[in-house]
């Protein structure tokens, strides 16, 4: 309970004093992006997708088998000892054994390439199905590797989240129907976690240590000030959805801008806001086209008749990206920004999405890095998923498509649980390339988490959520489901020392 009288002595509710308030300095941002998901320029799209599965299996299988053999070695059930079987095809009926492989979930509602081909549907439109899970028992879970595939049955499966593409080990026997009756399931669990400040050099508190070899010398500058990293924060936001037609939250966006700039509030709160050292935008900065069209409601079909070469102002509305550009241009002088593309953003549709080209932002592109520059740009347009080290913490983040797609596989909407599962499977996009569009990788499968991040964020989620999960070797991962700003008006702040979360809800 706060009474009106209590707040009236606020310093801002006074006559202007006339003295010039001192300028606040924004905390520096220690930032080291990685280019794990950057695709080369000379890409081929001819190859098949099987390599992704093969690479993923070869990368994760050893760790799964290690855990499985530790768990199941010498297990005796009904007088029979569980044996390890190398390939799915080697499973013999009636023998107790365990085997590792890739999960494939067959669901009648899932888009099926074979069906498309047989029905002569060659134009692949994005799937509009909201949920693949049907719950009527027609969904089948299978385990496969390069040798073959076996159907998994058993009640124990129900207590595990399983989606296509995750790597698991199962123990059980093949029953008379040729199905594998699962007794227990093991997964790889969290990958080894690097220490903090593995990639970037920790800004030294007392300037005695050697100068940083990095190109940016701001650490050195900052080392003199009393406690540079104390209370530093990183802001996460997603789903800004700048729209050319829907202005219902334009004011909220402006308040967000004023909040991040530190224009609002009183001097003490402003000094707190000045510790927000970076903004990470996790996808969907621009409203979806469907939404735009739905709201625009202009003569449908009429304009479609003539096709114009190049820029067609009747079919393209530049306003959303202009508004977003304006937002960035206003914010950037005060704060560096990392921009991940999302499902609606002007980037490629398939995972990993490549950075939004700075040419989209005529006003703010001056802050972007020059092509080929070693130093990350002040406005850093990055891939989705994206990996990097911010303030020494290894971060992994996505624009949300990976999680949204996984949610279609499971009956409930436990998004944090799915995020945890992704970390424990060591795969940030298991459903790619099955239901999540992805580039057909040949030589590397970047979605495998070779290292466990300290912070894993997923953008454009319907609701805020956060949790800390722990691994067997003392790994700690902070999971954040970053809510869509357009839906919740929320911005998430992460403390860079403790990884504690706070959030700010904007209401008008």
């Amino acid at each position: 309970m706060v009474k009106l009288e209590d707040v009236l002595d606020s310093s801002m509710l006074k006559k202007p004093t006339g003295d010039q308030p001192e300028a606040l300095e924004r905390s520096d941002s220690n930032y080291h992006p990685l280019h794990t998901f950057t695709l080369g320029k000379d890409l081929q799209y001819k190859q098949q997708f099987a390599d992704i599965y093969f690479l993923r299996l070869t990368k994760i299988k050893p760790s799964v088998e290690e855990i499985a053999s530790a768990e199941w070695e010498g297990t005796v059930i009904g007088g029979e000892t569980a044996k390890k079987v190398e390939r799915v095809l080697d499973v013999r009926q009636g023998e107790l054994c365990w085997v590792a492989g890739t999960v494939y979930v067959d669901m009648p509602l899932k888009p099926n390439i074979l069906e498309d081909v047989s029905k002569d549907r060659w134009i692949s439109a994005p799937s509009t199905v909201q949920q693949y899970f049907s719950g009527d028992g027609r969904d089948a879970v299978m385990l496969e590797d390069d040798s073959g595939r076996i159907r998994l049955v058993g009640d124990v499966l129900k207590s595990h989240i399983l989606v296509t593409g995750c790597i698991i080990a199962v123990m059980g026997t093949e029953n008379i129907n040729g199905e594998f009756d699962v007794i227990d399931v093991q997964i790889a669990d969290l990958a080894p976690q690097p220490g903090r400040w593995e990639l970037s050099i920790k800004p030294s508190q007392n300037d005695t240590t050697k100068k940083t070899p990095k190109p940016k010398d701001e650490d050195v500058e900052m080392s003199g000030s009393p406690s540079p990293s104390q209370g530093k924060k990183i802001a996460f936001v997603s789903g800004l959805e700048f729209s050319g037609t829907d202005t219902s939250y334009a004011l909220d966006l402006n308040l967000l801008l004023e909040f991040l700039l530190g224009d609002v509030l009183d001097p003490s709160a402003q000094s707190e806001l000045s510790h927000i050292s970076r903004l990470i935008i996790a996808g969907n900065s621009i409203a979806s086209e469907a939404k735009e069209h739905q709201l625009a409601e202009d003569q449908p079909g009429e304009k479609k008749s003539h096709k114009k070469y190049g820029y067609d102002s009747s079919s393209y509305n530049p306003l959303p990206s202009q508004l977003f550009d304006k937002f960035l241009a206003e914010l950037l002088p005060s704060m560096p920004v990392t921009l991940l593309p999302g499902a609606h953003d002007p980037a490629n549709a398939s995972y990993p999405q490549q950075p939004i080209h700075p040419a989209m932002f005529p006003k703010s592109r001056a802050y972007a890095a020059l092509p080929g520059a070693a130093e990350p740009g002040w406005l850093d347009t990055v891939t989705n998923p994206w990996e990097g080290e911010v303030e020494g913490w290894k971060m992994l983040g996505t624009g949300g498509q990976n999680l949204d797609d996984m949610c279609k596989y499971v009956p409930d909407n436990d998004r944090l649980g799915l995020m945890e599962a992704m970390c424990r499977w060591r795969c940030s996009a298991p459903t790619a390339p099955d239901t999540l569009w992805a580039y057909p990788f040949q030589n590397d499968e970047p979605f495998v988490m070779k290292e466990c991040p300290h912070l894993y964020f997923v953008g454009c989620q319907p609701e805020f959520g956060t949790r800390v999960i722990q691994g067997p070797d003392g790994q700690m991962v902070r999971l954040i489901a970053v809510p869509s700003f357009a839906a919740t008006r929320e911005v998430v702040l992460v403390d860079t020392e403790t990884l504690d979360i706070s959030r700010v809800k904007i209401a008008t």
Binding site: M1, V2, K3, L4, V7, S10, M12, L13, K15, P16, G18, P21, A23, L24, E25, R26, D28, K158, S159, E218, E221, T247, A250, L251, F259, G262, D263, V264, L265, S268, Q270, Y311, S313, Q322, K326, E330, P333, S334, M335, P336, P362, K363, A366, Y367, L370, G377, D412, D414, G417, E420, E463, A481, V492, D500, I501, S502, R503, I506, A507, T508
Partner: protein
């Protein structure tokens, strides 16, 4: 000191405008915190005199009760109820703060919902209670507009000492601070004017040239400190280019003189530049910024041209030449918007049966940029002419132009834009 009172009285009471603290701060050039106090003071003094005279909207930042814990998903879940980790559905609690705009009449009730108020101040004042908060957007827009025009004196509350911007040509200017940039700016203007003068192959009088130079210099001077650096550098890039390519330009221009000038005058009378429908309010990039892009476009055009047969070379040349001056400004009009309104011809003397004056032409110019690439750009320029009354160059051209353009030109005209693609669609 009381300047703000007159400002607020003028705007809020007389003009019924909504004034936010940011707009006040920008308009008067004061710190935002001072502006908040000014709004409060004005609101108080007005309402002391006459209660309800003006209305205030407050911004309250603090924590509300009952938002400490957020549960995830539904609690009464049927399927997973048997599974042990029921806690999985609950997200960790995270302190939540609320940043809310509250009109003054609701302030008391709203405050009662807060556990703690970190900060409160007047966000805006307006003549009366707002039916729709969206009215604030007008003020927001105005702030954006001011920032765009003169953000070099923008009083940012939180400054970032690490700010890095990309500089195109002169890394040395990077270190130039707000104080040093002013002289730079002043230097730039005459220099640029001189450059455009030079490009104009000695115009008859400098007087009409001045607005052009001013207009082209305008975007650079308007920009902020950082923007100015860029503007300055791009300017010097142009100058540098001129110094290298000046002679070439002259030669080329004079060679193209009759051919380039006449069609452009002709075309602009048929469908003026501003009518091409494409140059809406999209902020147009500066010419040098995207020089690379244009170059490749140019190359493509050239390739296309080469692909075509040699026989009706002359006609094709004509056809292509005339669309290009129109097509190019869509991509990158070097000239800022206001210049569009200027007449395409300025006749200074019309005595003796001869007209003298200047007309606007698009001139192609090939320059070497700082990285050694050849860049071709289209630049609007003024070309002086002296000819008989009733511009003879125009009419003979129409008749002289062979039959082919008559049909094709007509086709292109309604579209408002001659495009190389229209040549293909014809076939």
């Amino acid at each position: 000191m009381d300047k703000y009172k007159t400002f607020l009285a003028d705007n809020v009471i007389t003009e019924d405008k909504v004034i936010t603290f940011r707009l006040l701060a920008r308009s008067l050039g004061v710190h935002v915190n001072t502006a908040k106090q000014m709004l409060y003071d004005f609101h108080k003094s007005q309402n002391d005199r006459r209660p309800g005279a003006i209305h205030a909207t407050y911004l309250v930042y603090g924590s509300k009760e009952g938002v400490s814990h957020s549960s995830y998903g539904t609690d009464g879940d049927i399927k997973m109820a048997s599974s042990p980790p029921d806690v999985d559905f609950v997200s960790d609690s995270a302190p939540s703060f609320s940043l809310a705009l509250i009109p003054e009449e609701r302030l008391k009730d709203e405050l009662a919902q807060y556990n703690e108020v970190v900060s409160i101040h007047v966000y805006s004042i307006e003549p009366g209670p707002m039916k729709d908060m969206a009215l604030l957007l007008d003020a927001v827009e105005e702030v954006f507009k001011i920032d765009e025009e003169e953000d070099f004196k923008k009083p940012n509350v939180v400054v970032n000492p690490q700010l890095r911007r990309r500089e195109r040509t002169h890394p040395a200017i990077k270190s130039a601070s707000a104080t040093t940039s002013k002289p730079v700016k002043q230097e730039v203007k005459p220099a640029f004017a001189a450059a455009s003068l030079k490009a104009k192959e000695a115009p008859k009088s400098a007087e009409p040239a001045a607005p052009v130079a001013k207009a082209s210099a305008a975007p650079t001077t308007k920009k902020a400190v950082p923007a100015l650096k860029r503007g300055g550098s791009s300017n010097s890039g142009i100058m540098q280019a001129f110094s290298k390519a000046a002679t070439k330009v002259k030669k080329e221009a004079s060679a193209n003189n009759s051919r380039a000038a006449t069609p452009s005058g002709d075309d602009s009378s048929m469908h003026p530049l501003s009518d091409d429908g494409e140059d809406d309010d999209v902020p147009q990039p500066k010419p040098l910024e995207t020089a690379g892009g244009r170059k490749s476009k140019k190359e493509r055009e050239d390739e296309l041209r080469r692909m075509m047969e040699e026989d009706d070379d002359e006609e094709e040349d004509q056809k292509e030449k005339s669309p290009t001056p129109e097509e190019e400004p869509i991509e990158e009009p070097t000239a800022p918007e206001p210049q569009k309104e200027e007449p395409s011809e300025v006749v200074t003397t019309s005595a003796n049966g001869r007209r003298r004056g200047k007309r606007r032409i698009m001139r192609k110019k090939q320059i070497m940029d700082e990285q050694g690439y050849l860049v071709t750009i289209q630049e609007p320029g003024w070309e002086s002419f002296s000819e008989d009354e009733a511009p003879p160059a125009v009419k003979p051209k129409i008749s002289a132009a062979p039959a082919a353009p008559a049909a094709k030109g007509k086709k292109a005209a309604p579209k408002g834009q001659g495009n190389i693609m229209s040549f293909f669609s014809k076939k």
